[in-house]
Amino acid sequence: MPERNNTPLLDIRDLKVEFPSRRGVLVAAQGVNLSLQPGEILGVVGESGAGKSTIAYAIMGLIEPPGRMAQGEILLKGERIDGLPREKMRRIRGRRIGMIFQDPLTSLDPLQTVEAQLVETMRTHLPISEAEARARAVDLLDQVGIPNPAERVKNYPHQFSGGMRQRVVIALAISCEPEVLLADEPTTALDVSIQAQILELLKKLVREKGMGMIIITHDMGVIAEVTDRVAVMYRSRLVEEGPSDKILTRPDHPYSQSLIAAVPPPDRRIERFPLVEYIEKAGDESRKLDLATHWLGQARDFGQTDGPLLRIEDLTMRFMTKPSILPSRRRYMTAVDHVSLDIRDGEVFGLVGESGSGKSTVARLISGIYTPFAGRIHFAGEELTAFKSRREANRLRRQMQMIFQDPYSSLNPRMKVRDIVAEPIRFHKLASSGAEVRRIVDDLLDHVGLGASAALRYPHEFSGGQRQRISIARALATRPRFLICDEPTSALDVSIQAQILNLLKDLQEELGLTMLFISHDLPVIRQMCGRVGVMQHGKLLETAETEELFNNPQTDYTRHLLALMPRMKRAA
């Protein structure tokens, strides 16, 4: 840890940020005291809406109006920088304080080359010539680990992958050698292996350039990986601050304790996820149905199937990447490459891999969103891919439902929750009257822990976790026996994730559901699944019992993934 000298690099005193609105003043951050030393990495952790990003925006003087800093002081090397005139503040941004945003895909101007953006930034702040700036641009790309920097500098942002774009963003942020670097969820949008590389790069840069860095994240794994000190935020306040080792292993505040407990442990299997009890209303409010007598529990005698419930043989899917009139000039990308697997009745099968590995494509092929290029899918002994008519496939597809990753775009915003959940019941004509449909919907909403009162509201009135519950209720509405969950919790906070995973576990046990559970998150897979398949570049590399896979991985790639899994030291 760096030595503490008298004036910290950055000092935030009693910060309060508020957003006046019609319904009163919303306080986004209050009573925040933080300081940062040169060469130090400070983590700010908390769940969405806790006010973490607000701190970064306050430091940059970029709080969106009508929001304002209502109280407090921000000092950079002992000089006050809050409330500076606009032009003076602009000279500090980018020059003395750099910032990195969450989503590298949207952080760069799509119409300008990387070089143009780098040169513009440097020439705004530094007295250097165009030629010097160009030379430095190449040098910067080299520093952030972009291969072939002299050529790549002429490229446009869309020609870089997500991880490479984040490197470009970092190059831009450090181009004028700032003293402080603010990183707002810098790796949240990236794969685990890319995340590890980016964190490594940030650590290296801080060390080499003696910068101070504040890293804002909701991910305890990231905190454990890079930070020297951590501040925990909860509902606009700092609840705890201290050295990372201490906070991660022996947190004092009950919120920090439950937040850390809610992170799925990568190294052992637990029965249920501990809930973040400190958060009010985190407890399950659902009125549980007696499934033995209820509509939802009935008609579940699907008949015994010999062999696995779902069998995939040589499934292949390719997408055209370069269209042409001449078939010989067309180019294809093979997203799923001869994948074969069995899913047994009543088990939860996990599919893990990084983005682009083809795992979501497999889910979409099974559920019929895509038509396979080659290969066969058998469900309950019948070949789905052989059906010529939609009607026939629908009979079996009723038994198969899907839950999507993004709870924001997977619900029709113009429909009431009642109609969203009722739609599949009506489509498959599973109830005899409108009144019955309504009763079933109310029961379903109760069962997933939303309460029947949710039925008359619209999706936008719900939080991400609640929306995912709506998606689950909708999936259950056809009385399915097979559920495909495509990254169901990766858009959610850790405490909400724990609730949703518990709900899925309960439903799976109560209804004897079979599940295909897709995730890039190995600890979650370990908790949820009986067997796991690992995918890379469209190929299924290995399939094993979950514990077997974690303890005795067979392929290099699996070992690589396991090694990247962020591990937190925990109190015994």
Binding site: R90, R93, D103, S107, D109, P110, L111, T124
Partner: protein, 322 residues
């Protein structure tokens, strides 16, 4: 890129053929061309002979093919009303309409885009609010009404500007221009404003909405966080990104300025194609109507092609990567 343009060209040909079919159908279904050409004393035998001579007894596909072939050479036959070749009539009127339309388009873009940017960047300032209210009026008032008000005020009351016609024109080759004489320019002012106002208000609202959208994006936030100058952010990054989607609409708008100059030309008795077209309708002068239809379709197709090519120039994401 070449492949893309070739495909667009093929599509354009298809569009033109479809429009040609509609124009051709006019001859078949709207009135009887022979009736329009002869007077009441002509005998039935003469009519039949004329019909045979004009090829009107040939099978429909043959007639259509002939129509397309002639149209491709710019030959649309003879106007029933004026007894002159249609191509000659159009060529006479074309410069008037083009001058009016291009000046209007320049006016609409020249005022619309800067005002759109201004109102997006300074939403709370008084001029923005004033302009947005005025633009609402501009969108809701019909063009002819604005024209009539202008005539009443500047023409009749103040007597500053001529109320009809093109003024004196200068001939440069076959092109006649009113831009080189004082009366020509004076005559152009009111029709150009009338024609531009609707498009201008539309462009202001479009640019404003798109610009507000762009200003909320992450790359603008990141540009701020890099401490770039406000002007560089607004005009170097935001405006360019704003224009990408706006260009399509602007292209179509410029097309419709030319196509819908009809009303303005009628109000100001502007001797352009629109006026010719309106007169042609009232007299069922089908060759003129057909030619006008084809010409407008051609203009739209060409503008769309230009817009597509502009996309390639502006947006690097569309350029083919290997």
């Amino acid at each position: 890129m070449l492949f893309f343009i070739a495909r667009r060209l093929a599509q354009s040909v298809l569009v033109m053929l479809t429009v040609a079919m509609i124009a051709f159908a006019l001859f078949q279904y709207v009135g009887d061309p022979i009736n329009n050409m002869v007077d009441q004393d002509t005998s039935l035998a003469d009519r039949e002979r004329l019909r045979q001579e004009l090829g009107l007894n040939d099978p429909v596909p043959v007639q259509f093919w002939r129509f397309v072939k002639n149209a491709a050479h710019g030959d649309f036959g003879v106007s029933y009303r004026l007894r002159k070749p249609v191509s000659e009539l159009i060529a006479e009127r074309f410069p008037a309409t083009m001058e009016l339309s291009l000046i209007s388009a320049l006016l609409a873009l020249g005022v619309g885009i800067p005002m759109g940017v201004y109102t997006a960047l300074h939403r709370e300032r008084l001029p923005s609010k004033l302009f947005m209210t005025l633009s609402l009026i501009g969108v809701s008032l019909p063009t002819f009404l604005i024209g009539i008000f202008l005539i009443l005020f500047f023409g009749v009351q103040l007597r500053w500007l001529p109320t009809f016609g093109r003024g004196d024109v200068v001939h440069i080759g076959w092109w006649s221009t009113g831009l080189l004489t004082k009366t020509g320019l004076q005559s152009l002012i009111m029709p150009a404003i009338t024609l531009a106002i609707f498009q201008m208000t539309l462009i202001v609202r479009l640019v404003r909405a798109e610009m507000l959208e762009v200003m909320r994006t992450d790359y603008i936030k990141f540009a701020r966080a890099r401490g770039l100058k406000t002007r560089a952010i607004h005009f170097g990054h935001a405006l360019k990104n704003t224009l990408v989607p706006v260009i399509t609409i602007i292209g179509l708008q410029v097309g419709s300025i030319i196509a819908f100059a009809i009303i303005t030309e009628s109000v100001f008795q502007w001797p352009g194609m629109g006026l010719l077209f309106v007169q042609a309708i009232s007299e069922v002068d089908i060759p003129v109507m057909a030619a006008y239809l084809m010409l407008i379709a051609l203009i739209f197709v060409v503008i769309n092609l230009i817009v597509d090519i502009l996309y390639f120039v502006i947006d690097p994401r569309l350029r083919v990567q290997s």
